[in-house]
């Protein structure tokens, strides 16, 4: 790792990380790191970096950010690995700042007092994540390493948030207050989103096959599914209420199944309608784009049409189909949150309850897991698509 002339000239200084770290440094000193509320409703008092963490903590935060600026400027061959370690560890240890803050400022005698994260903390989290993305991009790391890093950071956050020191954190208080409802919301959310994605995947597959066999189906099907996608979610949920409640009052059988104007039934229907466009489009494009020469090669080897489809076309089309599943899943996770407005449950119910009661921590308890689910689904499905991509079959 000796710094010699030619090596130094080959490694240009990185300008992105200093810019990010410098903004983090300015913001974390200017904004409040955390706030203390006497109870759930009363507005809290904010504390800056120095007041929150004391000289040692504030010095440590400053030193880490300064170190990453220096590291990104020096022409060291392995600086990105060092930066990766530094940023990854800082991100993983970030809740410790809140723990120190709570231990310094939380009044001992009031059991309802709660600490929460301030704007400075959110900025620090956001900018550190951007630095991590930049470093991972420069290192050109493999997906599996990125996923391991994600698991490490998330695991550390979950462990720290469950520890006794952070029991006073408003988000944790809110979680404990909801008790079993959080788990219930998670399952409802997952069931609705993945139910809609799987049903629409089957429907889309059938439709795509029809469109391939029969060209007359192409325009009307694509037109219909993109029309559905254009109508805003709230309108679709609203428009389904009247017909479904009419149906369920006409047929008591449906009522006993739980199919009513509000609840999971209109939510699932709307989610399926929304999921169709990306699914149908990607499945259709994927299957039609397999070169006919490859199918011919299969036929030449004596494969039947069925074998050509399942052993040649489908495996080649799979990465693009999975990409459609990825887009659909992310969209469905977001729309399921909206479906809470028509009583479908899921994390959206925390968001809208929190908005109704002006309880911001409850809003966060709904919004953060929704985002986490979307990011997780994105990461997993991107990895799956990448691993299915044939390496040499396509040129």
């Amino acid at each position: 790792m000796s710094v010699t002339g030619p090596v130094a000239s080959r490694i240009p200084p990185n300008r992105v990380i200093p810019a990010l770290a410098l903004s983090a440094l300015v913001l974390v000193w200017l904004l409040d790191l955390g706030t203390i509320q006497p109870n759930r409703i009363v507005a809290g008092t904010g504390h800056g970096l120095l007041s929150s963490l004391g000289w040692i903590g504030a010095g440590l935060v400053t030193a880490v950010l300064a170190a990453s600026i220096v590291l990104s400027m020096v022409p060291l061959a392995r600086r990105y690995l060092l930066l990766l370690g530094l940023t990854g560890l800082s991100l993983a240890a970030l809740p410790l700042l809140l723990e120190v803050f709570a231990s310094r400022h939380l009044p001992e005698d009031s059991p309802y007092a709660r600490s929460s994260m301030g704007a400075g903390f959110w900025c620090l989290l956001f900018l550190l994540s951007l630095m991590l993305i930049e470093i991972l991009g420069r290192l050109k790391t493999r997906r599996s390493l990125q996923l391991m890093l994600l698991v490490f950071v998330c695991g550390s956050w979950l462990t720290l948030l469950r520890s006794d020191g952070l029991e006073s954190l408003s988000l944790v208080r809110e979680f404990n207050g909801q008790g079993g409802q959080f788990r219930q919301a998670l399952w409802t959310h997952l069931a609705l989103a993945f139910g809609a994605v799987s049903i629409s995947a089957v429907l889309a597959f059938v439709l795509a096959l029809k469109m391939i066999r029969n060209t007359a189906w192409r325009r009307p099907v694509l037109g219909a599914v993109s029309f559905l996608q254009t109508i805003p979610s709230l309108a679709v949920f609203g428009l389904l209420i009247a017909p479904l409640s009419a149906l369920s009052s006409a047929f008591p059988v449906l009522q006993s199944l739980g199919i009513r104007g509000i609840g999971w039934a209109p939510a699932l229907l709307a989610l399926i309608a929304y999921s169709l466009l990306p699914m149908v489009r990607n499945t259709f494009v994927a299957l039609t784009e397999v070169p006919e020469s490859l199918a011919d090669a299969g036929r030449g080897m004596g494969m039947t049409e069925g074998q050509v489809f399942f052993q040649v076309k489908l495996p080649l089309a799979l990465p693009v189909i999975i990409e459609g599943v990825r887009i659909t899943t992310i969209q469905a996770i977001g729309l399921t949150a909206v479906a809470a407005l028509i009583g479908a449950g899921g994390f959206g119910s925390f968001i809208f309850q929190g908005l109704g009661q002006a309880a911001m921590d409850l809003v966060l308890l709904g919004a953060l897991p929704t985002i986490a689910l979307a990011l997780l689904a994105d990461a997993l499905l991107t990895m799956l698509a990448a691993s299915l991509k044939p390496t040499s079959a396509r040129s």
Partner: protein, 248 residues
């Protein structure tokens, strides 16, 4: 001219229905016989429509300006270091559900029009930014070299060559962004913005299906009108410039 007929017709239906909703009272009374009030009256539909449109137009204008400026900066030699990060952020950001972004804006900015405008701008910016980058990066380098070889300055290359070539893709990004924002602005009535989502939310809270229908129909019509407007714009663009062979 025939191109502009569908958006014009839809716009007439949208405005007409917003103004004349009370005329349809018998119809809604038939749908919702057990409620005294069947026409939403806490704000005229025209006012809600206008406010909804205003939010979407402002966020689209600010978002387009910021995203195109950002996209241009990140593809110039001076800003190229930032390109990988900017394009990563543009794609990761779109993973965030719009409702969650809307919800997160409230603790920071409070209730009302400010957080929704902030969320709409921020979220609407991402598809435009992504398409701007794709459009500018997709231009065949030979075209840029030819323009430079003809003696154009970097600014002239940008304005006369790169932006017209990338324009069609940027326009598609604006279309995506506006479609999402019309939907998100409707949900914005849960955080106190006055939009066409108001009747839907009020109807859901009071169990009044007539209110829900009135809001939902107008929101759907607004989305269709806007979408057909963009369709016409894109077709017109295609007729005027057809950049065959210029894209790599």
């Amino acid at each position: 001219m025939r191109l502009w007929l569908p958006p014009a017709l839809l716009a007439v239906v949208l405005c007409g229905l917003s103004a004349a909703m009370p005329v349809l009272e018998p119809l809604f009374r038939w749908i919702q016989p057990d409620k005294q009030q069947v026409i939403y009256d806490r704000g005229s539909f025209l006012f809600l429509l206008q406010n909804h449109l205003l939010l979407v137009v402002i966020s689209a204008a600010v978002g387009t300006f910021a995203a195109v400026a950002g996209g241009i900066l990140a593809t110039r030699p001076a800003g190229r270091d930032f390109l990988p990060l900017v394009s990563q952020v543009a794609s990761i950001g779109q993973t965030f559900p719009p409702v969650a972004v809307l919800a997160l804006a409230v603790p920071v900015l409070g209730f009302g029009e400010a957080p929704i405008l902030f969320a709409l701008i921020l979220y609407g910016l991402l598809p435009i930014l992504r398409n701007t980058l794709a459009g500018l990066e997709g231009i065949n380098p030979a075209v840029r070299e030819a323009a430079t070889g003809m003696g154009m300055s970097p600014l002239q290359v940008l304005v006369r060559v790169e932006l017209p070539l990338a324009g069609r893709i940027i326009l598609a990004g604006i279309r995506t962004s506006v479609t999402i924002n019309i939907a998100t602005a409707a949900i914005g009535s849960t955080i106190g913005a006055r939009t066409l989502g108001d009747p839907v939310i009020a109807g859901l809270v009071n169990g009044n299906t007539a209110y829900v229908l009135q809001g939902a129909i107008l929101i759907g019509l607004l989305a269709l009108t806007t979408d057909s407007l963009f369709e016409a714009l894109e077709r017109t663009w295609d007729r005027r410039f057809s950049p065959q062979g210029a894209m790599a």
